[in-house]
């Protein structure tokens, strides 16, 4: 059974329908990408899972329907959502950001700080720095590190490449696949940059105006010329 399954999920912002019956599944230990143009509903798909937008349809995580759960409650089930714009606490220190990441956990967090610092070595030396003064790439890494602090069962990653230099984007995706290999972390990543997302993900869904237009294993989508031309734009 899939770790996460969406069946006919709909969501709207006021009168605007953003999701029009999206169905997708993410298996345990898999990296799955959600691709598509601006406004296709990629971000809303993640938001419907974490409960930051009103949604209908069926969303089942680990056998539990997410139905009416709000974001606090979804987070407590082990779903870590790194939102668009990263959602770091700019006015707080790096360390406080990490502590907040471990908010739903009990007990000491030193081990976890060491654990995530293994992936982002600069973090250990800059725990006192204000998150707001980090570079864009560092903020994205901090957002990832913070999500990891809670030992999530699933990571929802929204457009990690946004506003970052290609080399930084590459580094971030490298770390994501390393996390997937080493810790078996399940990832659902939304990305505008289809090429890099397809390299890392094993399966992908392409959204078009709130619906799944195409889906399939990443290599197949990447090889399929017509899919590439009409949906992925490269």
């Amino acid at each position: 059974m899939a770790l996460l399954e969406l069946r006919g999920v709909e969501a709207r912002y006021g009168p605007v329908r953003a999701l029009d019956g999206v169905s997708l599944a993410v298996e345990q230990g898999q990296i799955v990408a959600v691709l598509g143009a601006n406004g296709a509903g990629k971000t809303t798909t993640l938001r419907s899972i974490s409960g930051t937008v009103k949604r209908s349809g069926q969303i089942v995580f680990d056998g539990k329907p997410l139905g009416r759960r709000g974001p606090e409650s979804v987070a407590r089930l082990g779903v870590a959502h790194v939102p668009e714009g990263r959602g770091t606490f700019a006015e707080m220190s790096v360390e406080e950001n990490l502590k907040l990441g471990a908010y739903v956990k009990r007990g000491a967090i030193d081990d976890d700080v060491a654990r995530v610092s293994a992936y982002f070595p600069w973090i250990a030396t800059r725990l006192d720095q204000h998150a707001g003064t980090l570079s864009g790439g560092e903020q994205q890494m901090l957002a990832l590190a913070r999500a990891l602090m809670s030992h999530p069962r699933m990571l929802l990653l929204d457009e990690p490449s946004l506003g970052l230099a290609p080399i930084v984007t590459r580094e971030i995706f490298r770390i994501v696949s390393e996390l997937n290999e080493k810790e078996g972390l399940t990832v659902l990543v939304v990305e505008q940059n289809a090429a890099i997302a397809l390299e890392v993900a094993s399966y992908a869904y392409v959204l078009e105006v709130g619906k799944v237009a195409v889906s399939g294993p990443s290599e197949e989508l990447a090889r399929n010329e017509s899919v590439r031309k009409s949906y992925l734009g490269y």
Partner: protein, 294 residues
């Protein structure tokens, strides 16, 4: 010179009370963007609770104070959950009207339950003075100042070093991101109201021995607290405390040395402070702009 120091010490004591109430205003404003106009009346109401416990139920003064603080916390939490939460998404005007409504409700309730009669309130401190180098220092003033200082220190440590404190700050700074890490933001806001009510209760208990207890006793104090909060920066806890102390000392000195102000024009001076700060430096003295890279 002795008079000058005496006025400074007295000013620090009244300033500490302004600071406590200003801090309550700042706590709530930071977390929810709401200015709680009922902060003063809530303080007055809880002070009556302390008075009732002592006078009518024969409780030991300190025990009565402790019970009052617990009651105040519950009152703040309860108000947030029942009255403020339903209008969370309403316009600023709506929240202003609702908190002004609370002013009238608490004022009316206090009059109804305890009558408008002015009552003496026991002071937790001895009514003596220390004379140091010709300067008479009231122990009441010193006690008031120290209590507020200790309270501020405890609150600061709570916000800085505890997990709930961290979650409270996070909820105020970025509620959406806080929810995503599992913080129950709604409850954090309620706890913020509870803590603000506790600060108010302390301000009320410290005010009542000198101005006596009546349903209107906190109204002027609330204006001073507003002036202090605006002066220090309505989003800066440190500013609220510094603003309160500066205002307390400043008003005392102006009242003493500027003849036409005296005791009667102190309140207008406080309003003038609000006006001037809002015109000249709306962020207040300690309201800071955080540097951010995007």
């Amino acid at each position: 010179m002795a008079e000058f120091f005496q006025q400074v010490v007295a000013g620090l004591a009244s300033g500490a009370i302004f600071a406590a109430l200003a801090l309550a205003l700042v706590l709530i404003h930071r977390a929810t963007g709401v200015i709680n106009f009922a902060q003063g009346e809530m303080a007055m109401f809880t002070t009556y609770i302390a008075w009732t416990l002592i006078e009518n139920h024969g409780l030991n003064m300190w025990l009565a104070f402790a019970v009052t603080l617990v009651f105040a916390f519950g009152l703040g939490v309860g108000l947030q959950r029942t009255v403020i939460r339903p209008i969370e998404r309403a316009s600023i005007l709506t929240t202003v009207i609702v908190t002004i409504g609370l002013v009238l409700i608490f004022n009316g309730l206090a009059g109804l339950i305890w009558s408008a009669e002015v009552r003496a309130f026991p002071s937790p401190f001895p009514n003596d003075t220390w004379v140091i180098g010709g300067v008479a220092i009231s122990q009441q003033d010193v006690g008031t100042f120290l209590v507020v200082l200790a309270l501020v220190a405890i609150l600061w440590a709570f916000f800085q070093f505890t997990k709930i404190g961290l979650a409270l700050r996070a909820s105020a700074l970025n509620p959406d991101a806080s929810r995503l890490v599992g913080v129950r933001v709604g409850w954090m806001l309620a706890i913020g109201w509870g803590l603000a009510a506790v600060l108010g209760a302390v301000a009320g208990i410290l005010t009542a021995p000198t101005v006596f207890l009546d349903p209107n006793m906190m109204q002027a104090v609330l204006i001073y607290a507003f002036a202090a909060a605006v002066l220090g920066g309505i989003d800066s806890p440190f500013g609220a405390v510094a603003g309160g102390l500066m205002l307390g000392v400043g008003l005392n000195l102006i009242g003493t040395y500027v003849d036409f102000v005296g005791a009667s024009l102190r309140l207008p001076v406080a309003l003038l402070v609000i006006l001037v700060v809002l015109l000249v430096k709306p962020a207040g003295l300690f309201g800071k702009t955080v540097t951010r890279r995007v």
